[in-house]
C-alpha cells in the first residue's frame, strides 16, 4: 500500500468516527432522558412463537439496578388459552436460545455505545474548555490595543493560562495532599474526642 492509499484509509476511518459522533449528542440526550424521565434504559428483544408474543427485556436503572426479565422456559401464559406448555415442543428451545443470543448482542451494542459516549463527552468537555480559554485570550488580545507599553496586559492572561495548564498536575497533587492531611487531622481529632486517643 503506498503512502496516499494508507493516508486515505486512515482518513476514511477518522471520517466514519466523526460521522458517528454527529449522532452522539442526540443519542446521549435520548439516553439521559430515558434515565431521568423514564426511570431507566430499556433493551427489548421481542419474538413470536406460535400465538405467543414474547420478549427478553433488560432494564438498566440509574441507581445501579439491572433487571433481567426472561420468558419462562417451560411455556407462557396467554389471556385466551391460559397456560401454554412448550417444554415438549422441539422447536421451542432452539428459538428461545436464538433470541437470547440476539438479546445479548443488543445489550452488548448498547454497552459499546455507552463506552463510546464516555470518550466523546470526555473529548467534548476538554475541547470546550480549551476553546473557551483560547477564545477568552483572543478576545483580550483584540480588546487591548497592543503597544510596547501595555503588551503585558495581553501576555499576562496567556502566560497565566499556559502556566496553570503546565502546573495543573502539580497543583492537583498538592491539593490532594492537603485534602488528605485535612481528613487525617479531622479523623484524629474525632477519635480523641471519642476517647480513643492516639
Amino acid at each position: 500500500m503506498n503512502f496516499f492509499q494508507s493516508l486515505r484509509a486512515r482518513w476514511q476511518v477518522r471520517f466514519r468516527q466523526w460521522g458517528r459522533w454527529w449522532a452522539y449528542p442526540r443519542q446521549a440526550y435520548e439516553f439521559i432522558h430515558a434515565m431521568l424521565k423514564e426511570g431507566g434504559h430499556l433493551i427489548e428483544t421481542p419474538f413470536q412463537f406460535g400465538r405467543g408474543s414474547l420478549v427478553f427485556r433488560t432494564l438498566f436503572q440509574p441507581d445501579g439496578t439491572v433487571l433481567n426479565f426472561i420468558p419462562d422456559l417451560r411455556g407462557f401464559y396467554s389471556d385466551i388459552e391460559g397456560w401454554v406448555e412448550l417444554s415438549h415442543d422441539p422447536n421451542w428451545l432452539p428459538t428461545y436460545q436464538n433470541h437470547l443470543r440476539q438479546h445479548h448482542l443488543n445489550t452488548q451494542a448498547f454497552l459499546d455505545a455507552v463506552k463510546d459516549h464516555g470518550q466523546f463527552w470526555d473529548r467534548a468537555v476538554l475541547t470546550g474548555l480549551s476553546t473557551a480559554n483560547l477564545g477568552f485570550t483572543a478576545y483580550t488580545a483584540l480588546r487591548v490595543n497592543l503597544t510596547p507599553e501595555n503588551w503585558w496586559e495581553f501576555a499576562g492572561p496567556l502566560l497565566a493560562a499556559v502556566g496553570s495548564y503546565l502546573a495543573r498536575p502539580w497543583l492537583v497533587r498538592q491539593t490532594l495532599r492537603l485534602l488528605m492531611r485535612l481528613v487525617g487531622w479531622v479523623a484524629v481529632r474525632r477519635l480523641r474526642k471519642a476517647g480513643l486517643g492516639i
Partner: protein, 306 residues
Amino acid sequence: MPDFIKNLASDLLRLEVNTIIKQNMTAEKIPANKRVLLRRLADSYREALADYEVAKLPEDGDIIPTDAGRVFRWRYGGQFSFQEISGVAKQAAESLEAQLANLPDTPEKADLSNRHKIVLRIRSQSSNIVGVFKMMYRNLKLSLEEQQKAGATVTIPNGFFDEEKEDLLDKEHYLFSQMSNQGLPRECVPFVSHWASRDWNNDLDWTDLNRAPELDLTPDSLSLLYKAYEIGTEQIVLQTVIQIEGDVTSYITPTYLGLPDQYKDIVMGIHNRSIVTSTQFWGALFSTIVNLAGRTFNEIFRRRTG
C-alpha cells in the same frame, strides 16, 4: 435535581443484578403515562392479594357483611389506594407468618413462603409509593404557601380524606345499593374517584385519569416506580449484589432449584452474562463520571504507575 445526583452517587456504590422469570412475559409496552403505570401496578397488587384470598375486590360479586375490612375500597392508583394495599398486605403477612410457624417442611410450606415474600414486597413497595405521593404533596404545599406569601389567592388542598363523608362513596356501585337495601356495612362500599387531589395524587378512575395533569415525579421516584412495575408480583429467581468494596452476594431461590437441570444451566448462563454486562455498564458509568470530573486525576495515576 441536586438530591437526585446525591442519591445517584451513593446508589452507584452498589450494583444489583436481578433475573426474573415472567410467565406472562408478553411483548406489551410499558405505559408511557405514569398515571396509567401506577394504576396498573395497584391493580396487579390488588389482584395478587385477592388471589391469595387475603382480600376481596368490590367486583367479586360475593361480598358479604363479614367481609368488612377485607374489601378494597380504593380501586385506583394513588396514595389512598396504595395505603390501603399496604395495610392489607401487612395483615396478610402477619397471618402467613403465623401459618408458616406451624407447618412442617413440605412443598405447601415452600409455596406459602413464596407468597409471604411477594406479600412483603407488595407491602414495602406500596409504602414506598405512598412516600412518593407524600413528597409530591409536600412540594405542592410549599409552592402554594410561597404563592400565598406573595399575595396570590390560592387554596391549599388537604393531604388526607374524610372517610365519613357520604359523597366519597361510589353511589353508582351495586354495593352502595346493597348498603342502603340490605344493610351491608359501609366498610364494604368502594370510594369514588378523588378528583380534588389530582394535582399530587392519582386516586382517579380511567375517565379522570386521562384528563388529569401529568404528575411531577422526580427521577429517583420514577426509577422506583419503574422497578416496582417491572417486577410486579413476579418471583426473582437469582439475585447478585456487588458492593463497591468488593463484597459479592448471590441469592439462589428455591424456584431456581426446582427447575429442570437443562433450564437451570440456561437461566444461570443468562444471569452470569448479565453480571458481566452490568459490571461493564457500571464501569462505563463510573469512567464517564471520572473523565468528566477531571482528566487530571487520570494523568497523575498514569504517571505514577508508568
